[in-house]
Symmetry: C2
Subunit: 227 residues, 2 copies
């Protein structure tokens, strides 16, 4: 579902402070694979996830999503590809603060279909139930706790049953019990709907429960281990 | 250093959606104590920390900081009390994105003294070194990774050597090794400078290494345990 070959990313290209943060990444993520991305703070995990999620462009190298090579695609085509296949959970959730939890979870569907449908609402309510937020649907995002916001972001990423779920530290603000519930939900989407998952996590217990672990150190793949 | 008696907090007071989230909290935090605040997502930990940090007012009950009863104080007096005694690390760092790491760490001192001093800069540079961010001082906050931003927020909270450090999930975005370094830094401030610490954490390993653990469940103190 994801193929990276020789992927590089630099910031400040063409300025005196140009810095390369990813130094040639080769990764293949199979359809339906459940994989952890681990590594020290600052090693490049969020940067890598943003590239795979088509939120930023690589500086060089090849990136294919669901069989489509992305290098030659224009912004419009990337947006379509992203909307069709990818669900993204950001490290700092990026919810719309003035909208409710339910509206935030329904947003990808509203954007894609142009309207809020009854089906989309039913799916969204069910997801909010499954992340433990029943009763909080009508709270505005800025009235929720940190971990509740993170869970709304997770529900939003799952709302279109994407082929590829990219989650950037989805349990960092959750207690152990709630984190386990969230992990089980992602596993269920993986096993029952075939969604591939790439989960950035600092929690070694959760990483151990994935099918494979890719370790990033200083912008390079340092180690890959399978269960 | 902190005394809470019968503390209550409600949101939406006077509206149809009025909700009490803290239901009468009694806590005494001794001078120089190193204490963990644990509990499920949504249980009220950030709300409690915001009240102790004088960022919000309780709905009822008594709160004293460094011997001063806060109930009768005006905003101006609370701001002075907070600036003098409290260092706060927010759950979602709240750095100034357009300012550099160094400027963010120096900000409390610049605000208090009206100017940037050489002493403040030296202290801030040393703190950035000690949270592992040497070499990143001149990056803007929005050019840093999630865990790097969290560490800048920690350095900022320590920059005035406050009598009371309030840290809301300071290691949620850090790998285990970096989290241990940060915890050791807080312990050092506690032991060598006598700073009291109240640390909200979801990490049971770190909570176990504090002098005392206060557990919040559904807005009440459910359990207190000492080492
Ligand atoms: N402005 C608000 N209006 C209504 N309810 C609120 C508001 N702010 C917080 N709450 C509610 O108060 C409760 C406690 O929130 P708080 O942020 O203190 O939780 P927490 O223990 O820090 O959780 P987490 O571990 O997820 O960060 C939550 O159920 C939340 O939805
Ligand atoms: N816009 C930018 N300009 C310059 N450097 C940047 C920029 N964005 C990120 N970086 C640098 O790229 C490196 C990798 O950042 P990234 O956010 O991918 O790390 P990470 O592995 O996700 O870290 P964490 O675990 O702390 O979230 C960091 O050293 C960071 O300072
Ligand atoms: Mg990151
Ligand atoms: Mg919180």
């Amino acid at each position: 579902i994801v193929s990276l070959r020789g992927l590089r990313k630099s910031y400040g290209v063409g300025t005196p402070v140009e810095t390369e943060v990813l130094h040639g990444i080769d990764i293949e993520l199979a359809e339906g694979e459940f994989c952890a991305l681990i590594g020290p703070s600052g090693s490049g995990k969020s940067t890598l996830l943003n590239l795979i999620g088509l939120l930023e462009r690589p500086t060089s190298g090849d990136l294919a999503i669901a069989g489509s090579e992305t290098a030659g695609l224009k912004e419009q085509a990337l947006t379509v590809l992203r909307g069709r296949h990818i669900g993204f959970v950001f490290q700092f959730h990026h919810l719309l603060p003035a909208f409710t939890a339910l509206e935030n979870v329904m947003m990808p569907s509203i954007i894609e279909q142009g309207v809020a449908t009854a089906d989309a609402e039913a799916i969204s309510r069910d997801l909010l139930l499954r992340v433990g937020l029943k009763g909080h649907e009508h709270k505005k995002a800025n009235q929720l706790s940190g971990g509740q916001q993170q869970r709304v972001a997770i529900a939003r990423a799952l709302s279109r049953s994407p082929r590829l779920i990219l989650a950037d530290e989805p349990t960092g603000n959750l207690d152990t019990h709630t984190a386990d519930d969230i992990f089980a939900l992602l596993r269920e989407f993986n096993r029952e709907r075939g969604s591939a998952c790439l989960i950035v996590t600092h929690d070694p217990r959760l990483a151990a429960r994935c099918d494979r672990r890719i370790e990033l150190v200083d912008g390079r793949v340092a180690h890959v281990s399978s269960a």
